[in-house]
């Protein structure tokens, strides 16, 4: 197997996986943009391996594979960082919601207490 074949297959697998995940509604549509770009990059570098040497020359990196690794690590780092921000945001919303649930539940109890006829409508009993 040659390098272009290998990386083309790799890129193809990534694109197909993302396509499948999108079809199954397992991935937000805009998130897929990131992974499709990554797949495109893998395919591009696989088909034209000389490209990385040119870029390395450009930015002054003597050993071009190290540039490849650096870029890969940076891409992953940025993704993980953004992911962490997202998770914190979700956690904040989850906690706000939990607090709101606690407050609303108590208000429902109060209302039912004032009007016992409505007790059967307590959501915790249904």
């Amino acid at each position: 197997m040659t390098l272009p074949m290998f990386s083309a297959i790799l890129a193809g697998v990534v694109v197909l996986s993302i396509f499948w995940l999108l079809r199954r509604d397992r991935l937000p549509v805009m998130h897929s943009l990131w992974w499709l770009s990554v797949a495109g990059l893998i395919g591009l570098l696989g088909l034209f391996p000389r490209l990385i040497d040119r870029v390395a020359d450009w930015v002054g990196v003597a050993y071009s594979p190290s540039l490849l690794f650096m870029v890969a690590i940076l891409v992953l780092l940025i993704k993980v960082l953004l992911e962490d921000v997202d998770v914190s945001q979700d956690r904040r919303r989850l906690l706000r919601l939990a607090q709101k649930v606690a407050m609303l539940e108590e208000q429902i109890e109060q209302l039912n207490h004032e009007d016992p006829g409505k007790r059967s409508r307590d959501p915790r009993n249904s």
Partner: protein, 245 residues
């Protein structure tokens, strides 16, 4: 201070008590606070015992979190509810009985006796504490630039302005009600003062934060990061007295 003034003040405030598995003590704490004529909100942090029932029987309004979310989340729930209900001030106590509700009028009197009304009164008990606690206090004071001696006291009086700041979603991801909370208020120019009270030994259990070196380690790393990332860094503050940079 006149008795009717105190009664007037008491009627505009609320006590917030976060509790997790405190069924043994919570009833006594609530009853002791209710005796003052003060409304009590207990926030039950998904207890597995009868904490919520015991608190309700003692006359508290009980808010139940739908999952175990941590003591600060419970505390913030109570403060949010207090803000929504229109209370003018909040006193926070621990559910384990180490804070004496009888000290609440003293804190109110202390706050009202000062010319510049403080936004926060921390009821401190510097006398308590083992080596671990003393070391932690010293380190955190150094890192945060706060001049409060008892940074970890859960016995505090907040005015309406402090309550509104703390109820905000900006404060939701904090873990403990101490350095992070005080820094948040301090950086926004609120005045924090301290008032010494006696604290009773816990009847059941012991401090969760200061129980072991491992837990202290987690707490210290967390608080150190909070202190270093969020301290005022020379920002001018309006506060005076005990808490200026």
């Amino acid at each position: 201070m006149q008795d009717h003034d105190l009664a007037q003040t008491i009627s505009t405030g609320v006590a917030v008590i976060p509790a997790r598995n405190e069924a043994a003590d919570i009833g006594r704490v609530v009853a002791g606070t209710r005796e003052l004529g003060l409304s009590v909100t207990v926030v039950d942090d998904f207890s597995t015992d009868r904490t919520a029932e015991a608190a309700a029987e003692a006359g508290a309004r009980v808010l139940r979190l739908p999952f175990h979310a941590g003591s600060w989340t419970a505390m913030q729930t109570g403060i949010r509810a207090a803000v929504a209900a229109g209370y003018q001030w909040t006193v926070t106590l621990d559910g384990d009985g180490q804070h004496d509700p009888q000290d609440i009028p003293k804190l109110i009197a202390f706050a009202q006796a000062r010319d510049l009304a403080p936004n926060v009164v921390v009821a401190s008990c510097v006398a308590r504490g083992n080596r671990r606690r003393k070391l932690a206090w010293r380190i955190l004071r150094l890192l945060s630039g706060l001049k409060v001696a008892d940074l970890t006291s859960g016995f505090r009086l907040y005015d309406r302005q402090a309550m509104e700041l703390l109820a905000d979603s900006d404060c939701t991801l904090l873990e403990y009600q101490d350095v992070g909370v005080l820094l948040h208020l301090h950086c926004r120019g609120l005045e924090l003062v301290e008032h010494e009270v006696a604290m009773r030994p816990r009847c059941h259990g012991q401090s969760r934060i200061f129980s072991s070196w491992r837990v202290v380690g987690h707490y210290l790393v967390y608080s150190a990061l909070i202190s270093l990332t969020r301290r005022a860094y020379g920002r001018p503050t309006q506060g005076t007295g005990e808490c200026t940079d």
